[in-house]
Amino acid sequence: MKLLIAIILTACFVNNYVLQQFLGICPFLGVSKKVDQATGMSLAVIFVMLVATAVTWPLQMMLLNPNGLGYLQTIVFILVIASLVQLIEIFLKKYIPALHASLGVYLPLITTNCAVLGVCISNIDSEFTFVQALFNAFGSGLGFLIAMLLFAGVRQQMEDCDPPECFKGLPVTLIAASIVSLSFFGFSGVIESIFG
C-alpha cells in the first residue's frame, strides 16, 4: 500500500511527465489557454493512460516478451494505443454521449500523445506489476492535470500583460513553462525522504 502511494506521488510530482520528463508538451502548450479546456484534456489523458496501460502491459508480458519480440515494443504500442483511442471514441459516442460530449474533442488529440506512450513504456522499464502499472498511469495522468491547471492559470495571467514585441506569443510561454518546470525540481528527493 505504502509502495502504491509512493508510486502515485512519484509519478505525479517527482517524475511529472510534462514538467520533468518533457513529454506531452504539445497539448501542454496547445490546450492550456483556458482552465476548462485544460481540465477536459487532462481528464481525457488520465482516462486514456489508464486504459492504454491496462492493454499494453499484458500485451508486452504475455505476447511480446515470451516470443522474444521485445524490440517491437514501440511500434506495437503506438499501433495499439492509436486503435484503442479510436475504439474508445466510437464506444463513448454510442453508449455514453454525455462523456463523449465533454471528452470527445480531446480524444483524437491524444491518439499518439507521447506522454501516453511514455507511461506505457516506463511501466515496462520500471518492471512494475500490473496493479503498480495502473497506479503509475493514474499518477502520471494526475501529474498531467496538475501541470495543465497550474500552467493554464499562469497563462491566463500572461494574457493581460504586455511583453516586449520579440517575446510575444510562444517565446514568453516557453519561458514561463521553464520557470514552472524549475519549481517542480524542488520535489526531487522528497518522496525518498518520506517513504525511504
Partner: protein
C-alpha cells in the same frame, strides 16, 4: 533474416486485428447522424459567436433539430434569413425574429463624470480595471478605453468622449462586447425594449451624486410614477419589466438624473 520476418508478420497481424476490430466497432456502434443537422448548419452564418447560447453554430444546429420546442430565431447574426432557412429545412414556422442589439448601460461620458486618477498603464479596460477598479470616479461605469470597440466584429462600437456608443444599424447582437467588458455593463436587448435605464451604479444616492451628474440615485420616482407598475427597485436601481412596459415615457420625464431614456 528469419528473425526480422517474424517481427514484420507480428506487427502486420496486430495491425490487421486492430483494423478488423475498428471496422466492426464502427459498423455496430455507429450513431446515425440526422442529415438535417448539416443542412441547418448551412443556413447559419458560421460566425460561431455563441449568441444563441450553444457552443458555436454546430451546437445550435444540432439542438434545433433535436428539440422541437426550441425557437428558430436564436441566431442573432443570421437574423430573419437564417430563421427562414432553418424553417425551410425543418418544415416549421419561423416565428417572429426580433433584432437584438448591444446596450451600454452607462451615460457617464467625460462631461458628466470625472476621473479619480490619471491612468497611464496598458490601454485596455481589463488592465485598467485591475488597478483599483479603473480611473473613473464611478466604480460601475464605462472605463472608455474601448476594449468592446476592439472586440466588435462589426465595428459597431465607437468611443465618444470616453464612453462607448453602439451604432444600432451595424450591431448584430452577437454579445461579444458584453463578454469582454470588465464592468459587465453591456447587455443584449431586443430593439422592441425602447425604455432603458442607462446607469449601472448600485450605490446610494448621495455617493452617486458626487461621482456622476447623470447617475441613478435610486430615488424610485420612476417606479412610483409608472402607470403600468412595470418598474421595481433592485439594488438602488430601477428594473423594467418589459412585458408590462408600454414605452409611454413617464419614467424618462420624471427621472431627476435623466438616466432613463426612450429610444425610437
Amino acid at each position: 533474416m528469419g528473425f526480422s520476418i517474424i517481427g514484420i508478420v507480428a506487427v502486420t497481424v496486430i495491425g490487421i486485428i486492430c483494423a478488423i476490430v475498428l471496422v466492426i466497432a464502427a459498423k455496430f456502434m455507429s450513431v446515425p447522424v440526422d442529415e438535417r443537422i448539416p443542412a441547418v448548419r448551412e443556413c447559419l452564418p458560421g460566425a460561431n459567436c455563441g449568441a444563441c447560447g450553444f457552443a458555436g453554430c454546430n451546437g445550435y444546429a444540432e439542438a434545433v433539430v433535436n428539440d422541437e420546442t426550441l425557437p428558430l430565431t436564436l441566431c442573432t447574426p443570421g437574423g430573419a434569413a437564417a430563421a427562414a432557412g432553418i424553417a425551410g429545412v425543418l418544415g416549421r414556422e419561423a416565428g417572429e425574429s426580433v433584432k437584438k442589439v448591444a446596450v451600454i448601460n452607462c451615460m457617464g461620458d467625460c462631461n458628466k463624470t470625472k476621473n479619480k486618477s490619471d491612468y497611464k498603464g496598458i490601454q485596455t479596460c481589463t488592465a485598467a480595471n485591475l488597478l483599483f477598479g479603473g480611473p473613473a470616479s464611478c466604480a460601475y461605469g464605462c472605463i472608455g478605453l474601448g476594449e468592446c470597440a476592439e472586440a466588435c466584429p462589426e465595428n459597431a462600437i465607437c468611443i465618444v468622449d470616453g464612453l462607448a456608443r453602439v451604432d444600432t444599424r451595424l450591431c448584430v447582437g452577437c454579445g461579444i462586447c458584453s463578454k469582454v467588458c470588465p464592468k459587465h455593463i453591456i447587455t443584449i436587448q431586443p430593439v422592441t425594449d425602447k425604455v432603458k435605464v442607462l446607469c449601472s451604479n448600485k450605490d446610494k444616492g448621495a455617493t452617486v451624486k458626487k461621482t456622476c451628474s447623470t447617475g441613478c440615485m435610486g430615488c424610485g420616482v420612476c417606479s412610483k410614477m409608472c402607470p403600468e407598475s412595470a418598474i421595481t427597485m433592485t439594488d438602488n436601481k430601477p428594473v423594467i419589466d418589459y412585458s408590462k412596459c408600454t414605452s409611454c415615457g413617464t419614467c424618462a420625464q420624471k427621472c431627476p438624473a435623466k438616466c432613463i431614456v426612450v429610444e425610437g
